[in-house]
Subunit: 205 residues, 2 copies
DNA sequence: CGCTGATTCGGATCAGCGATCCATATAACC
DNA sequence: GGTTATATGGATCGCTGATCCGAATCAGCG
């Protein structure tokens, strides 16, 4: 890559980071280009789609989140690690208003520039969830995809001005739904039951 | 209103209903006008905003849903009524792809044409929830606003192609989170406990 | 250093969006 | 049938992202 192109690319990323974190990911590409004193065509050549721009902008954040999952896995109780990681994921999305919709669209679209980052993130969460399930701390009838969906739902709610004030409570409600109380059902088999699967709660429908 | 105007208005509503249910609420206003063989300005005069068009199109559905809440309240167990009504709300939104975002924006925006419909719906849900809480069947630390948010989150997930396949399971997870097991904690006080409030689950945080 | 060829840039343009203007057409009333 | 208030829709505006292509810039070689 030519030196001036590299310079433009880096500059564009820096400016895009500023503009997007203050205006949200739906900001017009023209605005970003203007703020970077660059033609719209230049921005679009470096990053042909909004997803491509976000991927370049956020992929270190994505890596940090997946690394954080491994870190929590090593240092925390299974339940605490899962809850803490989900909380960090949700908190992270609030820095980039609107990114949730793009991620939800990218997770099943191999063409999207955000696809691999999203699937990696989902896998990291799936590992934390599986570990909690193995110890009977999380309900067994959900998987990493469901966890990703729950995170996306919380993140989306945090993006909606009318719903955001309740984000903490919604988080608590969903956490209660996913986690299995350690001392549930009195003390009967306080240790991990032989058959922790198919959580015997109300078998709704 | 002049007769030709009334005719155009009705025709526009009929066409908009078709187009929106097959293309989603984000369809271009021009497309709707074209399908109705009408100028764009005519459509926009009858319905100055997309919200206004949707309000006219959906307000009978809104009334049906609030009426349905009263109906279920009279005919069902508190818990079943709440769950059934939420399920109907979520199912209804799937008929109009994308309507959830507009509703989430309208619930706290008195200027929106959808505002009163949304708040009415929220109130209906709040009544069902309060009744379930009074009998100790739903957790006490949420209110109608939270319920509306949970419905919106489920509806939004149903709108996302990648998340929609898991909508049923997500619904079950959230239902478990909101409802209090009738026979929870073995048989200790199978009848409604004297103090059903502040669900004594893990006091997270 | 200066030339040449490949690369990059960005103004111009296009199709699409919702919003608005206003000359024209039409319904309703006398 | 004439008059007037109302409704219509083509034209236009500013905005969006996508694309084209002449001009500017860089890099490497003589």
């Amino acid at each position: 890559m030519r030196a001036d192109a590299r310079r433009n690319r880096d500059h564009l990323l820096a400016v895009a980071g500023d503009v997007i974190s203050e205006q949200g990911v739906d900001v017009s590409m023209r605005d970003i280009a203007r703020r970077a004193d660059v033609g719209l065509a230049t921005l679009l050549r470096h990053f042909p789609t909004r997803e491509a721009l976000l991927e370049a902008l956020l992929h270190t954040s994505f890596h940090e989140l997946t690394a954080r999952a491994a870190e929590l896995e090593a240092s925390q109780a299974v339940e605490g690690a899962l809850v803490a990681w989900v909380r960090e994921c949700v908190a992270w999305t609030t820095e980039y208003r609107g990114v949730t919709v793009l991620m939800a669209a990218a997770i099943e679209d191999p063409e999207s520039a955000l696809h691999v980052s999203c699937t990696t993130l989902r896998a990291a969460g799936g590992r934390l969830l599986a570990r909690a399930q193995a110890e009977g701390r999380a309900r067994d009838d959900i998987d990493g995809d469901d966890l990703f969906a729950l995170i996306a739902m919380l993140a989306w709610a945090g993006d909606q001005p009318a719903l955001a004030p309740r984000a903490d409570r919604l988080f608590a409600v969903l956490a209660d739904a996913v986690l299995v109380d350690a001392g549930d059902r009195g003390g009967r088999g306080a240790e991990k039951p032989a058959q922790p699967s198919t959580r015997p709660r109300k078998p709704r429908r």
